[in-house]
Subunit: 206 residues, 2 copies
Amino acid sequence: MPASSVPDIVVGRLPLYLRALSQMTTEGKEVTSSQELGERLGISSAQIRKDLSQFGEFGKQGTGYAIPFLADQLRRILRVKSIWDVALVGVGDLGRAVAHYAGFVDRGYRIVALYDNDPRKIGEQIGSFTIMDSATMVSNIRSREIHVAMLAVPASDAQQVSARLIEAGVRAILCYAPTSIVVPDTVHVQYIDPVLHLQRMTYYLG
Amino acid sequence: MPASSVPDIVVGRLPLYLRALSQMTTEGKEVTSSQELGERLGISSAQIRKDLSQFGEFGKQGTGYAIPFLADQLRRILRVKSIWDVALVGVGDLGRAVAHYAGFVDRGYRIVALYDNDPRKIGEQIGSFTIMDSATMVSNIRSREIHVAMLAVPASDAQQVSARLIEAGVRAILCYAPTSIVVPDTVHVQYIDPVLHLQRMTYYLG
DNA sequence: TAGATTGTTAATCGATTAACAATC
DNA sequence: TAGATTGTTAATCGATTAACAATC
């Protein structure tokens, strides 16, 4: 069932399916079809069926997919049935907003450590956590066995900080700094840079 | 030169190229090659050359690309030689952080209007702008001829608010709400949902 | 000139879609 | 049963890569 190698582009769509299914649940729906899901997401029904079939058979001919069951299977596949502890590095405006964001927990992630290198910020309380000195970051992350980190430092620091995160055992980095970082291929990186998205759209505006 | 129809996936890489070139400029570099650019970005040199060739001939055999020239061409292609006025709807924690973010202006975008529907927030000053009542949003955006918007409202409001933005003449929406919205195909939408990226990575973590 | 690197072509590779038998 | 929808196959479509002549 866990096909040896699923294309990453397929993996990238699973969270989208899960998000839509969660939304349907809050709407009180209990069953859906590949067609209905596809219309919501702007994806063809064939693609959704093909993607899901990489992992098993989750539907029933004639009726479609039971939403709670499929959502649960997707959580299992994406490994978010339990909650990942996440470290956040860089507590400027953006880092603060990320730290306050309430939408992580019910989707599998919980920020449990904040680091900054600004002496004026160290010791400050954000929610129920205290900003720690990033000098202690490597040993701290390692001893707590944190494997996921968010990077909200200036672009000029991103490469160096990511190297230290990796040294500490981090294997997945969500990078908010507007820069590309180079990591060993055992480590996963994803980027969030709003300007890239804006530029991609304004290309099309007369 | 402006090839009638360039694949969107190519358009999506241009901002990445521009970002890397800007970075090289701050490093004092003046010339680069498709190979060097590719190493920074984790993209093959052939792909970079192919992508650029969709828009013209910007390099010189034997020497590569003049960074200021290529960056300027990309800015022209992406339409960020002048600055786009942007409306921001929803001024919660996330919206505030977006409003404070200093990195938009030198990359082609400037937030010039903030809207919220919470009476306690309306009138509040954020930087040099005042939060306006979203009841006035449609006429306000239309009269100011704003064509780009960022959406930082709750997921449950995103569809309805985006409809009003479109009614006001907005043609590009950057959606921070964790939901998909349905828009006419004359309108462009891009999404930012950090959890999608995290889930895509934790799939691979044992 | 010799070395380097572009722009482009053709070949390869991979992803999406259409279609349908199976079956609920 | 009849209608609906899955899972899967084969066909199509599109994107990436390899290779190289052109040329700076």
